[in-house]
């Protein structure tokens, strides 16, 4: 699929979108832009079925509050499954749903692409910031 064809298809799709679909699309992408969501998806993709604390250990910097909130969001979006062994000493495990695994499969090429092009991003930014500095001394 070349560029023009791709744009044409996306144009057709976007035109056909109901307001609901468009809202959903934006919502999914907004969640994807959240601080921890994609990191959790990646962690679960790599680690399989993990407990709350195990995820926290693998994700340097996340607070309990944000981890719980993000997991709830992912669960609500159907991307993560929550398994609550109803024991007296709490035991809860999380894992990717099928939908979550497929989302991860969609995201990974994007991550790889971003990393592959990291230099171009940085270079563009430096050029932009320098131009700003020269314009406003």
């Amino acid at each position: 699929m070349d560029m023009d064809e791709m744009i044409e298809r996306s144009q057709a799709v976007c035109d056909a979108l109901s307001d609901d679909d468009d809202g959903l699309k934006r919502e999914v992408l907004t969640h994807a832009g959240n601080r921890w969501s994609l990191g959790i998806v990646h962690t679960l993709g790599v680690g399989g079925r993990l407990r709350h604390a195990a995820i926290a250990r693998r994700m340097e910097g996340v607070t309990q509050r944000m981890l719980t909130r993000s997991l709830r969001q992912l669960e609500r979006d159907g991307l993560v499954l929550r398994h609550d062994y109803v024991e007296k000493s709490p035991r809860v495990e999380y894992e990717l749903s099928d939908l979550g695994k497929r989302l991860l499969a969609q995201m990974i090429p994007l991550w790889l692409w971003v990393v592959d092009n990291a230099d171009q991003f940085r270079q563009a930014r430096m050029a932009f910031d320098n131009a700003q500095d020269n314009a406003r001394p």
Copy 2:
């Protein structure tokens, strides 16, 4: 490339990431989650080189302020080129850079995927919300 291989590759890549690379990756994805950024990229992908007002017309709901801000951000990220004809009656045109076009090419399959799975997302959400309601009457 199957799922396991993909995860393995992404794992290797993420392990090799410097803090800078990781920050950059997250930043790009955060910007992608912003309200207008991807819409602008799509608009420019479809419409080619457009003036500020032309973009605004094609993007129902965006304010001057947010359009300018988003364009600046995209320009800073090297995704959009800004052409300022220095005339007395201001004339500025924007278009996707090569990097921007390639990002769009990365995003379109993701959009299509989200739309294709819209029902699954909605279904998951309804199930989740119902479970919540039952748990807290």
